[in-house]
Amino acid sequence: MTLDVTPSGSDLQLTTEGQLKHFLTIDGLSRNLLTEILDTADSFIEVGERRIKKVPLLRGRTVVNLFFEASTRTRSTFELAAKRLSADVLNLDISKSATSKGESLSDTLLNLEAMASDMFVVRHAQSGAAHFIAQSVTPGVAIINAGDGRHAHPTQAMLDMLTIRQHKAGFEGLRVAIVGDVLHSRVARSQIRALLTLGVAEVRLVGPDTLMPSDVSLLGVRVCSSMAEGLADTDVVIMLRLQKERMEAGLLPSEREFFRLYGLTAEKLAFARSDAIVMHPGPINRGVEIESAVADGPQSVILSQVTNGIALRMAVMSMAMSGQLAERTRTAARPGDAA
């Protein structure tokens, strides 16, 4: 199984001037654009520290959270991000409605468009769903991928990059370890792409063979089967969530076995640099991926990941809306006019 499950669709995400107009995948985005996203997010972090945590950028616009896969935490941060941009927010828990009655994705979309939305935040169990929607939707409507199948979770990856940048001077020279079920993780795929694009020195994937992608022929990525090898001298340790289904599918003997070999304890963390930071996209399984002492310890930046998530999503949503508006303006101008 290769790491890139679906076509990159990067052209679909960008305007002719290279601005973001959908946010679907890290794949195909330049280092400059990723850096611009992080820089913009910095300004939104400051907004979250004010008395009135709101700016008028998306005032009067409607953002629809289209979650075909349930997720309280991701949806809540998107909702908060949209509200802090002054948008009106609609939460559609599609998993319980029409599609379960057999309505196709296209029809669902057509019905929703009748509500004149400006942006859809989409989470779906199928890889490529966000791309499909971006291709089918009316021009002018921005699509933000909140996670599609096993393919990508670009906003999570970017908030992780933002967190890394806050604690480390830059990305050059960093050694980053990603530990756990990389095979099934859309987060890991997006993180790897982002880390490499931003120019880290090395990405190490650590975990049992059964949970590693078989084809890791990306330059700068190394697969390690032990924590001692994988964490040695790293600057950043990212723990992935282990889902119970993996044990049920026979990919792992037990949670205890996983914890013994790959669980992040203080002892194993000592392989990393003393100033290494510990991250986890959440929700954490204490005693499975990570022990409490480390999750709550001085090297953990897990809580700041959550705050950064709101700011990062504000950045991505406003940049995508900005790109859509720019394209609308460009399309509306008559040929020969000054832009």
Binding site: Q19, E36, D39, T40, D42, S43, I45, E46, V47, R50, R51, I52, K54, V55, P56, L57, S318, M319, M321, S322, G323, L325, A326, T329, A338, A339
Partner: protein
């Protein structure tokens, strides 16, 4: 490129007038807030001249502009920095140039999102006229008018100087992001 004013002299005069103004209003220590980028240099300068202890604030108004639909998001937006609570403070808002007044409108909206100020006094180094909103500075360094295609720019931070620039290219004229 021509130098248009002795910025040093003008700022010294403005500082004196501001002292009189604030004394008359019984304001001991205004909180100075400069609008990026030129206004911030001026804020720092006036802070020194007025002998104020408080750190000055710097405002990035990118999120409050009224032209998001036309120009989109400023890719160079930077975080605003208001290290002091604005609630109930007398604020001295400083910018290098006022023209349409839209920048000041945006800045005031942003200031209110930090808290309710007791008052806002506006000082600009240059007033170019051509107002599009009913907003006027309390204090102006110098009034000027420009010809079509001319722009002025405050350079700094050391030394502060004002430059006149002619827009050379014809043809593709994108809306001026700097228009204030």
């Amino acid at each position: 490129m021509t130098e248009l004013m002795n910025v040093e002299q003008v700022l010294e005069r403005m500082a004196g007038e501001l002292q009189t103004l604030f004394r008359g209003r019984n304001v001991e220590a205004p909180l100075i807030i400069g609008i990026r980028t030129g206004g911030v240099w001026l804020a720092e300068d006036l802070q020194r001249r007025l002998g104020l202890d408080d750190t000055y604030g710097s405002l990035d108004i990118s999120f409050y502009r009224d032209d998001f639909e036309r120009l989109g998001l400023n890719p160079q937006v930077r975080p605003s920095e208001l290290p002091v609570d604005t609630e109930d403070r007398h604020i001295l808002l400083v910018d290098d140039v006022i023209m349409s007044g839209r920048t000041i409108r945006a800045a005031m909206n942003e200031i209110f999102d930090y808290g309710r100020p007791a008052s806002i006094t506006l000082a600009t180094l240059v007033d170019l006229g051509s107002r599009e909103l009913p907003i006027q500075p309390d204090l102006v360094g110098q009034r000027m008018s420009l010809k079509d295609g001319q722009r002025i720019k405050l350079l700094g931070p050391e030394p502060l100087r004002l430059e006149l620039r002619e827009r050379k290219s014809q043809g593709r004229m994108s809306p001026e992001r700097g228009a204030s």
